[in-house]
């Protein structure tokens, strides 16, 4: 037996001992990828959300607990038209028509919201937007971050969306005042005021988020004609991959916020 082989055996033996002594540490990690969810589960969820957003995709997360108050969620879409617009429109619909209406803030980094898309009748679209505070930033990333800071610090809006998905990644990296520290500040503000803070980015950019979902929905031209038949963007399935899940952080923070 060569000395190298002997050492290898010892290593394997040591690993076996550690596995026996600390089985929890060696249990296979919960698969977070590719936990692909393309539609809400058909069964009723085990829990109900603390703050139901009215959008099935988000309320079904964490076995029905949904997004916790004070949590920061990053929704990444590397490709244009991967479902971000549909989710934002669904949230606007839910905020205005759900059993639990709530005011909603949308900080639109690229000024991309098309209010006429929400309904074929302008008056109905205006009614849907009544709960929406639309902040148009015209690709000014610094303005978008400052606007988010103001709204999160204020704490009057229970849900704030920061849409940077159509902004260029280089502009985002250069434009965020204070760099990574700005995201930490926004996260702590959301925790302090119990605001559900959703960001939409073209790449994973934000450290220490509670949830990170990567959208990759592919539509066909037929979907443009299909959707008016269902009329409900809140239940529109979007293909996404859950790449980070830390739901308990938000719960703890909400308890701290009181």
């Amino acid at each position: 037996v060569s000395p190298v082989a002997d050492r290898t055996d010892k290593i394997f033996h040591l690993r076996d001992l550690l596995r026996e002594r600390f089985p929890e540490a060696h249990r296979p990690a919960k698969p977070v990828a590719p936990a692909t969810v393309s539609a809400p589960a058909p069964r009723a969820p085990a829990f109900t959300p603390d703050f139901p957003l009215g959008v099935s995709l988000l309320d079904a997360l964490d076995d029905g607990r949904g997004l916790a108050r004070g949590s920061l969620t990053e929704i990444v879409a590397r490709r244009r038209g991967a479902g971000v617009g549909t989710l934002i429109s669904g949230l606007i619909q839910a905020a205005a028509t759900g059993g639990r209406r709530y005011p909603l803030g949308l900080i639109d980094g690229a000024d991309s919201l098309d209010p006429a898309s929400l309904s074929d009748a302008p008056s109905a679209a205006a009614e849907l937007c009544r709960q929406l505070l639309w902040v148009r930033c015209h690709h000014r990333i610094d303005h978008a971050i400052k606007a988010a800071d103001l709204l999160l610090r204020d704490g009057n809006l229970p849900v704030v969306l920061l849409d940077l998905q159509l902004c260029r990644i280089r502009d985002i990296r250069q434009g965020v005042p204070g760099g990574t520290g700005a995201w930490h500040r926004l996260r702590s503000l959301a925790e302090k005021t119990g605001t559900i803070f959703l960001t939409f980015t073209p790449e994973p950019l934000i450290p220490s988020v509670a949830w990170r979902l990567e959208f990759d929905q592919r539509w066909t031209l037929d979907d443009i004609d299909r959707l008016p038949a269902t009329g409900d963007l809140r239940r529109e399935p979007i293909h996404f991959t859950l790449t980070r899940a830390r739901p308990t952080a938000g719960e703890t923070n909400w308890a701290m916020a009181g």
């Binding site: 009215g54 309320d59 029905g64 490709r79 038209g81 991967a82 971000v84 617009g85 549909t86 429109s89 839910a94 028509t97 759900g98 059993g99 639990r100 209406r101 005011p103 690229a110 000024d111 991309s112 919201l113 098309d114 006429a116 898309s117 929400l118 309904s119 074929d120 009748a121 302008p122 109905a124 679209a125 205006a126 009614e127 937007c129 009544r130 709960q131 929406l132 505070l133 639309w134 902040v135 148009r136 930033c137 015209h138 303005h143 606007a147 709204l151 610090r153 204020d154 009057n156 809006l157 539509w219 031209l221 979907d223 443009i224 004609d225 959707l227 008016p228 009329g231 409900d232 963007l233």
Partner: protein, 537 residues
């Protein structure tokens, strides 16, 4: 319980308010012709002194003397005529103080106000009443005014108490007790008519006790019904309703500045003072304000107006001040300010708890402040709720002020949006308006692209085939269209026409392609510019 606030020697006090230095000099205020005539004197008779400073009295001058008589006693005496403007100003201060105490008060006479304290718990405790009285006296003293305060169970007795107070007098107790308290007072304090006074003096009646010792009915029989009224006043028994004063309906303050203002700080100092006055005026009628309109006037004759909304109607001066300050701190003016007008819109005080379902804002006033900061950051034209225009022309909308409270009532729990309901059954009862399809995410401004076209044999049209340049390019995998749109053809020079295609690139993304012309005169041979208007989904 009623209280009266009395400013003795009112015409003189009004003068001293404007010129405090006269207080230490020999000064007398002389009645005008109107008072002389009203007193029943001969119009040819000279006006007489009605109020004197201490220095004038010490020099031997007495009320009722003519100016010549006064100068004979004191050569240095200054004779002033009544200053109506100053008196109106002093009366306004008196009414303002009254409005703080109660909404029900009467301007009984110049320099005399009677207030109904109602059933306030403080109104039943003598110590509290005396303390309040002394506080008022101190408050008037700060404004160079000497006040006398009287408390009594009826308005006339309260006025009487104020006239004889030094500086606070309280009448209270049973009717017989009141009569005993009033008995030693001289008859003159009731200011009886001259003919009554002559008769009563002839009868040897010098005090209120002498008068009330006589039978009331027999006095009335001999002297007339007015004598019965005089008897009731002497006994402290007369009761009547107050002729209530209501503050003006407009809650506005216009200021002309003596010196031009170029910075925010002095302007905000003045605005705070105005807000205090206007808020007190609102408080007197139990109202708050829902909006503040500030109009600034500049030295070149120009003006600008700022409307500051108060989402949760309030009369809290600090809150209102912060809202105005936040609005103005980012305003730049090119010329000095020579005046301004601040107007508050009255509203009922709001009750804005954070509702059960959080359908409202926690702190609307704070949110208004945040909105003002947002507008200062990115412009008011970029903050609000979108309202699409009623036209087929794409991307036409305006922003209205964000007001989530003004919508229709929320749907009942259990309908759409209830997290306990899943599936199509819940969706079926949704009142959602029909969507247009996949939502479009617009590129603003639209991205100009170079487009390669191909000839479609079926339709005979030139169809887009490939995006050749720009950030987004590639072969068009699938295509639907064209969608021809036009409008405003009925208005000269406003015709617009456009052609739209929905296209799918090879990576699967769906885009809207469009080309348009704004002018009906455009040549068909003119080269057409294509744009990417947005991405679906």
């Amino acid at each position: 319980m009623f209280t009266s606030l009395h400013l003795p020697d009112f015409p003189l006090q009004a003068w001293l308010c404007r010129q405090p230095g006269l207080r230490w000099e020999a000064v007398g205020v002389i009645s005008g012709e109107a008072e002389t005539a009203a007193a029943g004197n001969d119009r040819r008779q000279q006006p007489r002194l009605i109020a004197l400073t201490r220095a004038a009295i010490e020099a031997g001058v007495e009320p009722g003397m003519t100016a010549a008589q006064a100068r004979a006693r004191c050569a240095a005496i200054q004779i002033l005529t009544r200053d109506r403007e100053a008196e109106a100003e002093a009366q306004a201060r008196l009414l303002e103080t009254s409005a703080h105490a109660s909404a029900d008060f009467e301007a009984t006479a110049p320099g005399l106000v009677t207030i109904d304290l109602g059933a306030s718990p403080q109104a039943s405790r003598p110590d509290d009443l005396r303390r309040i009285g002394h506080e008022w006296v101190a408050a008037f003293a700060d404004r160079e005014l000497k006040a006398q305060i009287g408390f009594a169970p009826n308005p006339d007795l309260a006025a009487l108490a104020a006239r004889i107070a030094s500086p606070v007098r309280l009448f209270r107790g049973a009717p017989d007790s009141l009569r005993e308290q009033l008995a030693p007072l001289p008859l003159e304090i009731l200011d009886p008519p001259a003919d009554y006074r002559a008769i009563l003096t002839l009868w040897g009646i010098g005090t209120l006790g002498d008068l009330t010792a006589l039978p009331r009915d027999e006095i009335a029989e001999r002297l007339g019904p007015d004598a019965a009224d005089l008897w009731d006043r002497a006994a402290g028994k007369r009761r009547r309703l107050l002729r209530l004063v209501r503050p003006p309906a407009d809650f506005a303050h216009a200021v002309d500045l003596d010196h031009e203002i170029t910075t925010l700080e002095p302007l905000m100092f003045l605005i705070r003072r105005n807000l205090e006055t206007l808020a007190a005026r609102l408080a007197s009628v139990y109202l708050a304000t829902s909006a503040m309109r500030l109009t600034l006037r500049f030295t070149d004759g120009g003006a600008c107006e700022h409307l500051v909304r108060v989402p949760d109607p309030s009369r809290d001066v600090e809150k209102l001040f912060r809202l105005v300050h936040t609005r103005l701190e980012d305003v730049t003016v090119r010329r000095p300010i020579e005046g301004y007008r601040l107007e508050l819109t009255p509203a009922r005080p709001g009750e804005q708890p954070f509702h059960l379902f959080e359908s409202s804002l926690r702190d609307p006033n704070r949110f208004a402040e945040t909105l003002a900061q947002l507008e200062a950051l990115i412009g008011s034209e970029n903050v609000g709720s979108p309202v699409p225009a009623d036209t087929h022309r794409p991307d036409v909308f305006h922003l209205r002020p964000f007001d989530p409270e003004s919508g229709p009532p929320p749907m009942q729990q259990g309908q759409v949006g209830d997290p306990t309901l899943f599936g199509r059954a819940a969706a079926a009862c949704s009142p959602l308006p029909a969507v247009q399809g996949l939502p479009l995410r617009r590129f603003r401004p639209p991205l100009p692209v170079q487009l390669a076209t191909r000839h479609d044999a079926d339709s005979g049209l030139a169809c887009p085939a490939e995006i050749l340049s720009g950030q987004i390019h590639g072969r068009l995998h699938r295509l639907t269209g064209p969608w021809q749109l036009s409008g405003d053809w009925w208005e000269t020079g406003r015709l617009w026409r456009r052609e739209e295609w929905d296209a799918q690139l090879e990576d699967g993304s769906l885009y809207r392609l469009a080309c348009w012309t704004e002018d009906s005169q455009s040549s068909e041979n003119e080269s057409v510019t294509w744009y990417l208007e947005g991405v679906y989904g």
